[in-house]
């Protein structure tokens, strides 16, 4: 994760197309390993959105795609309506102080398409560590409601359009930085 995370934030904007080509080349070389279904899903996404999508990885049963915050609602709607990934299993925020960004990953699964039962599509996006905010996916996937609320209080990522960005699991009188930020240290450790 961190090996590709650190450099891409600074120099990715100019050569995004180059990146996609390399990742496509990777999948072609691994074609014997990468099953058809996963590849067809990614192909559909790339055909529709082209350069807006960066492919994190394609492994058997697991796909990761990375998008910019401006495109996430559009991509998520496509994933839901066309690819039929219909619910979010988890929303995981991770702090990367070295790359100066926070990554939020939506793990999406499907109940409606039987052949996708084993698949998890990770939809990842990034925001800066200061004034962190992302558009909420609550209007696309209702199931992210509590997950996004948890991400807000644990990492301090504000979700625009979410009805409640407020305390959920933490104590009422919590007056420290969001605990899953890396600079928050457990006492005595």
């Amino acid at each position: 994760m961190s090996q590709k995370g650190a450099p891409s934030s600074s120099d990715s904007k100019s050569n995004t197309s180059g990146k996609i080509e390399t990742s496509n080349a990777k999948t072609e070389t691994k074609q014997t390993v990468v099953p058809e279904l996963e590849k067809s899903i990614v192909d559909k996404l790339v055909a529709k959105f082209g350069e807006k999508i960066k492919i994190g990885y394609i492994k058997p049963l697991r796909i990761k795609i990375e998008v910019d915050r401006e495109d996430i609602i559009e991509v998520a709607s496509f994933i839901k309506d066309t690819l039929l990934f219909d619910h979010a299993e988890s929303v995981a925020g991770t702090d990367f102080p070295k790359g100066n960004y926070i990554e939020v990953v939506y793990h999406l699964g499907s109940y409606t398409r039987e052949e996708l039962g084993a698949h998890v599509l990770s939809l990842a996006t990034r925001t800066g560590r200061e004034d962190s905010s992302l558009p909420s996916l609550i209007n696309v996937f209702k199931s992210v409601e509590y997950h996004e609320r948890e991400t807000f209080e644990m990492l301090g990522v504000y979700f625009e359009g979410h009805p409640r960005n407020d305390r959920f699991l933490l104590p009422e009188d919590w007056a420290d930085i969001p605990p899953l930020r890396k600079e928050f240290r457990i006492k005595g450790r």
Binding site: M1, S2, Q3, L61, R62, K64, D86, H87, A88, E89, S90, A92, T94, V105, H107, Y111, T112, G117, A118, V120, S122, F141, K142, S143, E145, Y146, H147, E150, M154, R167, F168, L169, L170, P171, P179, L180, F184, I186, R189
Partner: protein, 389 residues
């Protein structure tokens, strides 16, 4: 004296005295009730409901009373040291919550589990599923006012706890699954004892059905109560028995078989009625199916061989991430682990069924009667400690 009349006279009198009266608003008719966290019917979970007469018009879950920052704690310990504290969220189902963790770590560190180890894992996980479901059933029974249904499962749960104690050495917190296999081999005579207990338990399940599920009072309190349609279940992203009670046959053991589950013949248990009865009956069907699975596992297990892979001290793998799931007593239980190449995980995210099913609680409670609250709440198979992590 009608209220209209009294209001009018009150208005006149107060106007004469130069006073302003505050009129009763629509909101004033509602009463806010706090359920939990001390209320025995809520576990360690608090939610507030607003009632209009008998009916709930608003529900706001307020979890977090047992939040212990498991995910943060994981970042301070190495992959092996994390196991004992990761099972604390669900001590009654500790083999399942460490199962998916082990699978995710094995994927990251590229460890292969020996075949006998895979079978023992599955056996321990099925035993733990029985322990958890019986505990849940006991609570469900007592909150529907059926005290026999509290006593019987609590008693029969001891059978499986004894078996797990024989297998792992501890009654509830086993720390049995480790990346690379299980901690120790099955003791001599375990198979025979296990088969004996299963045979006894299957007879008991018939009695459970007769005394509880066929009880007209239980049926009245659950049938047609708290309907969660298939479309809504998908939209809310619920999992486990709640999902399967809404006519969606989805079980991770079948959808994405891990370890030896693809060699086992079993059916995904689901129901069409989508009400509280279905949500209460699906775990019961699961227990039956679990007995069937355990017989096969005990039959197919290799008679000898390693149960755990040789590990390096402080195992680590290349930087990367993995997301693995198992079917626990409360539905899909997934771990998302990011490793930066050191023996300690960079980030651990636990995706638990209870947290996901919590979203269905306001949906189901709003519009139902306050008296139906216990049957709806406990049928969600909700374990507050797991949801809080």
């Amino acid at each position: 004296m009608s209220t209209e009349y009294s209001n009018k006279t009150l208005e006149k009198e107060s106007n004469a005295a130069g006073l302003q009266i505050v009129k009763e608003s629509e909101e004033d008719r509602l009463m806010t009730l706090s359920v939990g966290p001390q209320h025995p019917g809520s576990g360690h979970f608090r939610f507030t409901v607003k009632v209009d007469g008998d009916y709930i018009v608003h529900c706001d879950p307020d979890p977090g009373y047992v939040h212990r920052g498991e995910e943060k704690m994981c970042e301070y310990r190495n992959f092996i040291q994390n196991i004992p504290h990761l099972e604390r969220p669900v001590i009654h189902d500790s083999n399942n919550i460490t199962y998916s963790y082990s699978l995710a770590v094995e994927e990251l560190t590229n460890i292969q589990v020996p075949r006998r180890g895979q079978f023992i894992r599955a056996i321990a996980s099925e035993l733990n599923r029985q322990v958890y479901t019986l505990y849940w059933l006991a609570i469900y029974g007592i909150f529907l006012g059926h005290s026999t249904m509290f006593m019987w499962p609590t008693g029969d749960r001891e059978l499986f706890i004894d078996l797990l104690e024989m297998l792992t050495g501890a009654r509830v917190t086993h720390a049995f699954n480790i990346p690379g296999g299980v901690r120790n081999d099955m003791p001599v005579g375990f198979s025979e004892k296990c088969l004996r207990q299963i045979a006894y338990f299957e007879k008991r399940l018939v009695e459970y059905e007769n005394i509880f599920y066929n009880n007209p009072l239980m049926r009245q309190r659950t049938e047609g109560v708290g309907l969660l349609t298939k479309e809504e279940a998908i939209k809310l992203g619920v999992t486990g028995s709640v999902l399967r009670a809404s006519n969606i046959p989805y079980d991770i053991r079948k959808a994405e078989p891990y370890d030896v589950y693809n060699e086992i013949d079993f059916k995904v248990q689901y129901m069409k009625s989508s009400d509280c009865f279905a949500r209460a009956y699906v775990p019961f069907l699961d227990m039956k199916e679990s007995c069937y699975i355990m017989r096969q596992l005990l039959d197919k297990i290799p008679q000898s061989g390693e149960v755990r892979a040789k590990l390096q001290p402080n195992p680590k793998g290349p930087a990367g991430e993995s997301y693995r799931r198992v079917e626990s007593g409360r539905g899909a239980l997934g771990y998302y682990i990011i490793s930066d190449g050191t023996p300690k995980p960079y980030r651990v995210k636990i995706s638990v069924g209870s947290f996901r099913n919590m979203l269905a609680l306001p949906y189901l409670l709003v519009g139902s009667k306050l008296a139906d609250m216990p049957s709806i709440y406990w049928a969600l198979n909700y374990w507050p400690v797991e949801a809080d992590r």
